[in-house]
């Protein structure tokens, strides 16, 4: 029975190292490249986990720090997307795993991160994931529309995640409140997934 959480984490790590965003291409055929850009990250677990983790970290630090990510995160995605052709052959999996581990540990430790460091972390995540999303684009894709869709979903996802985290942590100033503990526990899980993912990438 004790092994169950470990198995779940292993399964999550394996899923994260082996996911692809092929489903988004079906969306492109149906609704065009703007919606492909908007749906592409949502079909990739690495994006989903990292974006939620970043939004949660910002949310736990409070609205005054977190709100800076509203412009920083989409801009980072656009920068990453523009760098995608340069890093087309480089896998971002190790960088993803490292960021997951780092953010997870910060969440688990309930660390008080300065605004500048928070923005730097979010920008790094966004650049890495922007590049990863851009790496799979074919020549037939309208990159401007794709970029607009990606920036939009980045803005929406990070803003909503931060707001929901702020709402969840309201009146939870004490470190012993169940809400604060729940966020820290989730941070621990994210760190563990990042660690396992890094191990899998390095072992392969």
């Amino acid at each position: 029975m004790k092994l169950k959480p470990v198995r779940a984490l292993m399964a999550a790590a394996i899923l994260l190292t082996g996911t692809s965003a092929a489903d988004a291409h079906i969306v492109a055929a149906r609704l065009g490249d703007f919606y492909m850009g908007a749906s592409h990250p949502l079909t990739d677990l690495q994006d989903v986990v990292l974006w939620i983790a970043t939004g949660m970290l910002a949310g736990t630090l409070g609205a005054s720090k977190g709100r800076w990510l509203i412009p920083v995160f989409p801009i980072g995605l656009l920068v990453g997307l523009s760098l995608a052709p340069v890093f087309a052959t480089v896998s971002t999996q190790l960088a993803d795993a490292t960021m997951m581990l780092a953010i997870g540990m910060l969440l688990a430790a309930a660390a008080q991160v300065p605004t500048l460091v928070l923005c730097a972390i979010a920008f790094a995540v966004a650049v890495i994931r922007g590049a990863a999303n851009g790496a799979e684009l074919g020549p037939e894709t309208d990159r401007l529309l794709f970029a607009a869709g990606l920036a939009c979903v980045g803005y929406g996802a990070i803003t909503l995640t931060m707001a929901l985290t702020v709402l969840f942590k309201r009146n939870a100033d004490s470190v012993t409140s169940w809400r604060a503990i729940a966020v820290r526990a989730l941070g621990g899980w994210i760190a563990a997934i990042g660690l396992m993912m890094a191990s899998l990438v390095l072992a392969s």
Binding site: L31, R67, I70, L160, M162
Partner: protein, 330 residues
Amino acid sequence: MSAIRYLRLALLGLTLALTALLRPSALSAHEAAMGVLEFREVRPGAFVGRWSIEPSIGASRVDLRMPSHCFLRLPEMNCGEKGLVGPITISNLGSNMSVVLIKVIPIEGEPRSYTISTANPVVTVLGTDAPTLEAWVELAKTYANYGIDHILLGADHLLFVLGLIWIVGGGWRLVKTITAFTIGHSASLAAAAFGLIGVPERPLNACIALSIAFVGVEIVKQQRGETGLTARYPWIVAFTFGLVHGIGFAGALAGLGLERRLLPAALLFFNIGVEIGQLAFVLLVLALIWAHRRLDAVVPRWGEAVPAYLIGSVSMFWFFGRLARVFVAI
């Protein structure tokens, strides 16, 4: 911080996103990238096919796959004794060709139409009998999806709704306004689809662009502290322009050559699809406004007027582009 400033920051992001759709191709957003292929039965099981509306990618590039027992080499198609029964699909549908209507004109019985779209790439021909439950389900799926696609790809409709939310804010006033817009476009969509009213598509699209410019002007008025018509009577403005946008929605159904007996159901499901897409958009905007309020993230004072002018500029770009298309065949 006033609530309206949270609203403006959330809407600024969405306006910028919709502005990304500001491309020459967006001028013809409601002239569907579609084709119409007619099959006329000349003897039992043997058909002659021709494109009555050729898709923009060219007829030769359409990867049409008929039921496996049918031998197709246009203009001829032979389905033998079994007749034209079974699945029809097109494998290369995309933004350049999103809808193809297949019309089948049998020797006996009524002509039938089947719509293959990116949302529903396979249709099943069921023969000449009365529509079965399966046929109704397929019709519902096809047209509800088509309605969702139409509203999600219609940046002009979404920009108009965004403008209304901007002026009205939230609460019951917004519910009433969006309801009035829905009633307006549903009524004119039905009237246009049944042929009770008819407006040429190109001038109509120019009018739709003007309706967005009107909302842009109303936002500027509101920012200057004046009470505009939309702020005073939002539901009347929403209903009136809803009538115009509804005729635009009907343009998406026009030319599909639907059988008369299927038209009411197709119209209903198409409208349901449009409402689903519109509701999803409104809820997303409201969620973002809530999130901005929660994060106390407001637009800087210097940027307050930017979204209104963006809406105005985009709509006037569309207006002049569409007006040019009224006089010049582009």
